[in-house]
């Protein structure tokens, strides 16, 4: 069973946007897609240690700011080289204007 962690105020994230959230020794990326749905993944690109939150969201895709590799942040699937590995995704819920992600200890 995971632990729900409060992350950011929903007002801080626009449609088709991504925001960085650090918790303990881990960094996460919280996304909003073009339909206004929310998702979360690990914060670093699986290709190289670069914050995905500095990248570009297009629909359900996040493009890494360093090498333009792409991931589907709804599934964690790699979509374009140089990203070849999947990224860990986390369940997200919206409560009282705050976004929560479920992490496992």
């Amino acid at each position: 069973m995971g632990q729900w962690i409060e992350t950011v105020d929903v007002k801080e994230i626009d449609a088709e946007d991504v925001i960085r959230f650090d918790y303990e020794n881990h960094t996460y990326a919280i996304y909003s897609n073009d339909k206004g749905e929310y998702f979360a993944t690990d914060g670093y690109c699986p290709h190289q240690k670069v914050h995905l939150a500095d990248g570009l969201v297009m629909g359900n895709i996040i493009e890494c700011p360093k090498h333009n590799g792409r991931l589907d942040f709804t599934t964690g699937e790699a979509k374009r080289a140089p990203i070849c590995h999947t990224i860990k995704t986390y369940p997200v819920k919206l409560e009282a204007g705050k976004l929560f992600i479920e992490i496992t200890a």
Binding site: D17, Q48, K49, G55, L56, M58, E63, P65, K66, H67, N68, R70, R80, A81, P82, C84
Partner: protein, 382 residues
């Protein structure tokens, strides 16, 4: 500590690769200029319409220049006509290879891929290996032992540098690799940056290219003329002067082994025609710092960050003059490095743990940084 005449080993298989990892300058975090996040999102936006228009103009230009060259065949006018056709073929092939390779040319991924494959062939750059080579160039820009796209070692070798005006060394090396790949083998150095999972794709791309080479040779034999190869294939060589005269301005004479693109990359002002042919890659600091920004938004990005960057060179000629003056000095002192002053509005340079070279400070004083352990930022006036 390096002596003045010590040659650095630029091979990816040499000791400096491991040394760069140990020093923490491989796949490291690089300096970025502060840009408002909302503004950056606007600048990063991809546009199909602009790229489709520019691609139509590109192909139309090549067809017109090819037709003029065809009409001139058999006369002395063929020399300037093919020099211009070849220059435009090679330069636009190179810039479209680059932009489509980043996936920033079009909004639609398959359009980028189609242009990438065509432009890779125009450069004779094996498509998948060069995609990964360029990924490494962005991870480790001018980190010796790591970056496979360093244009000249220190000290420079004039024979190799000038030979590249007809793509003599790079072109032959790539042709050798294409045949190697076609037989299901990889170059050892390539395996430092290409994942094993990509090898099959590399082999099949090479085999397709060999079929195209054979078709060009067959066309030459059928027509009894070299003319078909003068339009496809050979322009990569006789037109490569246009690529190198501009590409030499990108990094040469600047720092090695630093973590700030303002220290190892050059932005040069160029006229709108050259910028169209070159996909605005004259804004090279901007491109390296923010590779997600498409070519059409680079002039706007330049306006956003010029307060944080050294003054751009005023022209290709001015940049080449600076480059060749530095290369000439590096023949005697390989550590010689140009340091450009930052404007008062800029943040200090971020050298990283082990910058290499002689920093030419304001006022003309020299200070050798190799081995003295400068860490982190260093103020331009220090």
């Amino acid at each position: 500590m390096a002596t003045n005449m010590e040659r650095r080993d630029y091979s990816l298989l040499g000791p400096l690769n491991k040394e760069a990892i140990e020093k923490g300058i491989a796949e490291a975090e690089w300096y970025t200029s502060p840009i408002d996040r909302k503004r950056m999102k606007e600048l990063m936006k991809r546009k199909n319409g602009r790229a489709i228009r520019d691609t139509i103009i590109w192909f139309a230009t090549l067809v017109i220049l090819a037709y003029i060259a065809f009409l001139s065949w058999g006369t002395w006018w063929a020399i300037p006509a093919f020099a211009i056709y070849g220059g435009v073929y090679a330069l636009t092939g190179n810039s479209r290879w680059h932009e489509a390779g980043h996936g920033t040319m079009f909004k639609t991924p398959w359009m980028n891929e189609v242009v990438y494959q065509i432009a890779s062939f125009m450069n004779l750059f094996p498509a998948t290996p060069w995609r990964w080579s360029h990924v490494r160039h962005h991870s480790d820009t001018y980190i010796v032992g790591r970056d496979p796209e360093i244009h000249a070692p220190r000290p420079p070798v004039w024979r190799v540098l000038l030979g590249e005006l007809i793509h003599f060394y790079g072109g032959i090396a790539d042709l050798k690799r294409i045949f190697l790949h076609a037989f299901g083998k990889m170059d050892k150095a390539e395996m430092d940056y290409i994942p094993a999972s990509e090898c099959k794709k590399v082999y099949w791309e090479a085999r397709v290219w060999i079929v195209i080479f054979l078709a060009i040779i067959a066309a030459c034999l059928y027509t009894g003329s070299i003319l078909p190869a003068m339009f496809i294939g050979l322009p990569t060589f006789f037109g490569f002067y246009a690529v190198m005269l501009i590409a030499w301005t990108q990094h040469l004479g600047l720092n090695e082994d630093v973590l700030d693109h303002r220290l190892n990359t050059r932005t040069v002002y160029m006229n709108p025609i050259i910028r169209f042919l070159y996909c605005n890659m004259n804004y090279h600091i901007e491109h390296h710092m923010f590779p997600m920004v498409p070519y059409h938004a680079l002039p706007a990005l330049h306006e956003e960050m010029k307060h944080d960057c050294p003054k751009p060179n005023s022209s290709i000629f001015a940049a080449l003059k600076e480059v060749f003056s530095a290369l000439h000095k590096q023949r005697k002192d390989p550590t010689y490095t140009i340091l450009r002053p930052l404007p008062i509005t800029a943040r200090p340079y971020m050298y990283g743990p082990s910058p290499y070279g002689t920093v030419i400070q304001q006022g003309g004083d020299k200070k050798t940084t190799e081995g003295i352990g400068i860490y982190g930022t260093m103020d331009r006036d220090s």
